[in-house]
Symmetry: C2
Subunit: 227 residues, 2 copies
DNA sequence: ACGCATATTTAGCACGTCCTAAAAATCGAA
DNA sequence: TTCGATTTTTAGGACGTGCTAAATATGCGT
């Protein structure tokens, strides 16, 4: 059984396409050309050509004008790429003191160059963590992942409710830096004190400290209600 | 003064060309098209085109049919690439337990993806070593390097002479593995016991243990005669 | 000084990835 | 159901990097 990866089996753009298609599928079902283009910051027309090549390689199935769906092979490549990304993020924070708002960009480049051996050594060196610094689950070296139950966000919390932060969006460094300053990191205990009307700020107790944040920000903080 | 590097300023092939041209220059003077092609394992015809582009970018000077010479800008890019390579090699051995015969290939890919910040953090984490695991000097973050005096090799040693291994060639994993088995690693104390005629084996004492190696291998072990 | 071996360059092509502009398919609303 | 807005695809092109085959320059030995 082949589980390994000869580094360079796939180009960096190919891995990036599969990654974003995986994420789009995970949320919404089939991935449209436009969604993919937007996530990758390229023109939609560029996606059509690449999608054909990926379909030819058996990494996804494409119904013209209707969207794209990963094959098992494509999903596996996506998950192994995501594993590399998240192990690198975790390693950079735990072993090299990186601030959590700078690990994403570094991992975005290293994920295409790191061998499976390096990733496994990194994971072992920091104790095989289950999630990356933003709380996203790390797939196994065999391309399996436990996405866990669907998570709510602080934006959906009712006043008085208590919860624990499980995960935050990692795609914006400035947002991450601010979340860190406010203490909204995975593991934090949060109580929603009150919610101002008309999309106003949410008053929170974050590990006992009061903070007020906007609802847009709150929707990026995923939680588990603890009672 | 600009000392940093915006990752991706140069493509991986460009960095590779500049690296090998630097190494060829260091040994022999001007780098010929054929030498470059051989080091990169590509066709000589492919080199001509790239050399023109690199000259256009001011990274080297090219006299038609006569060879190539790095500009200061080109040498700087080469040395910063070499720095990334060697710091990564040192980090992989010291922090992640990589065997020294496997660090080269990994570094060859990561050197094009790692940011200066990552490299500096790696170097700091292992105590800012002066050389990589093979004894090659690590350039500073400003692109300066101390190549040190010209080194002899075990192949040139006279019987009875004693020396210390300073550096070994790192471009062949099998050779490195064997050198490691024999103990011919930087820092080892070596005495040449005898040399068989007609290109025969050299009898050595490596840190007190007897070994016999061929002259081809011996020429890849660089030394400092200690008296 | 000439001719030949060798080194180098040019010409022409391929592939992957991106682009813009234009054409075509789909979907929703009147 | 038909039209207009939106989405997607096609057409045609650019760029970087590689290839082979053919042309050309260099330099050495006689």
């Amino acid at each position: 059984m082949m589980t390994g990866r000869a580094t360079g089996d796939y180009t960096a753009p190919v891995e990036d396409y599969l990654k974003v298609i995986y994420e789009i599928e995970r949320r919404g079902g089939a991935a449209g050309t436009n969604d993919i283009a937007q996530q990758l910051s390229i023109a939609p027309a560029s996606v059509s050509g690449m999608v054909r090549r990926l379909a030819d390689q058996g990494l996804l199935e494409h119904e013209r004008y209707r969207g794209v769906r990963l094959t098992d092979a494509g999903r596996r490549v996506a998950l192994l790429t995501i594993r590399r990304h998240r192990v690198i993020e975790a390693y950079l924070t735990h072993a090299l003191g990186y601030p959590w708002d700078r690990v994403h960009d570094e991992a975005e480049r290293l994920e295409h160059a790191a061998s499976d051996e390096l990733i496994d050594r990194m994971a072992a060196a920091i104790g095989e963590p289950a999630t990356d610094p933003h709380g996203a689950p790390i797939p196994t070296r065999w391309g399996e992942i436990d996405e866990g139950p669907h998570l709510g966000t602080i934006a959906e919390l009712a006043p008085g409710q208590r919860c624990r932060v499980v995960r935050v969006s990692d795609d914006d460094a400035r947002r991450l830096r601010y979340l860190g300053e406010v203490g909204l990191i995975p593991g934090a205990e949060v109580v929603l004190v009150s919610r101002a009307p008309f999309g106003g700020p949410l008053a929170l107790l974050v590990d006992g400290v009061e903070h007020a944040i906007g609802p847009a920000l709150a929707s990026h903080v995923m939680i588990e209600t603890s009672g």
